[in-house]
Amino acid sequence: MKNNKKKIIIGGIILAVLIAIFTVCYFKFYAKPVEGSKKVVIEVVDREGNTTGYKLATDAEFLKQAMDELSKSDKEFSYKGSESEYGIMIEEINGQQAIYDKDNAYWALYVNDNYGEYGADQQPVIDGETYTWKYESVTQ
């Protein structure tokens, strides 16, 4: 009976120590999600000319993927678009619609203040760049 008690105590200590070691090891070594390697800024210049900038660390290859990540992580940023033969046409950002046929306006993309050459799903994401979506009205 005494022997049993000794075994139980030793076993209990071993179990407690193992749980402690395993827990420490898990929190020290488990695979933590890493921040994206490319740091970019996505800016929105709205109808009134107000600029809102969003910093983003991403591994996205193209701007659309980065915008998708941003819309998930920052509830203030949202966008909508429609697919066309040239890729996605951005029609609404942060609730402001700019459809050329209806609103005489469109969302123009600037890359580091230069007019963009690609659409959102073809624009490569490069570390350090700033992508600006600007509400541009044709009547301006």
Binding site: I8, G11, I14, L15, F22, Y26, F29, A31
Partner: protein
Amino acid sequence: MKGDKSLFSAKDIAYIGIMIAVIEACKFALSFLPNIELTTFWLIMFTLFYGRKTAILVPVLILVEGAVYGVNTWWIMYLYIWPLLVLMAWLFRKCESALFWAIFSGIFGLCFGGLCALTPFFMGVFTEGISSGFNTAFSFWISGIPWDIVHCVGNFVFMLILFKPIGKVMKKAFHMEQI
């Protein structure tokens, strides 16, 4: 039975069949709960009450498992994990405390992932060397620790609750008929 000089009688073969059926039925019944199993409990109980003949039950069980679920890396892990459990239980067979066996089962459940990691370790060693084997095994073990803790708790609770009632039944089933 006492006059029977052969190592295994027809009754033993029937017993082993029933024991494997019990393990497989419990495994199937609990398959919806990840890392909660009764295989550890049954193998310990069979080792304690059925004795050294459990050694033959384990390879048969592993073969049945392979036949039912298909042979994969987990099956290679079973080749050494379950025999090790039976061997360890056999070493402590004189202990009759439910709490001791609950702790024993808990430790086994907790170390299950670490024991399983030996397989990716050797796979890594044979393909890309020792450091690769170590890295593979270590990340395998670390990622599974939360589930090892679940395994530990499940084993501990099952053993603590079931040891005495099932032990009574087993005493009747295995020991009484030999008297």
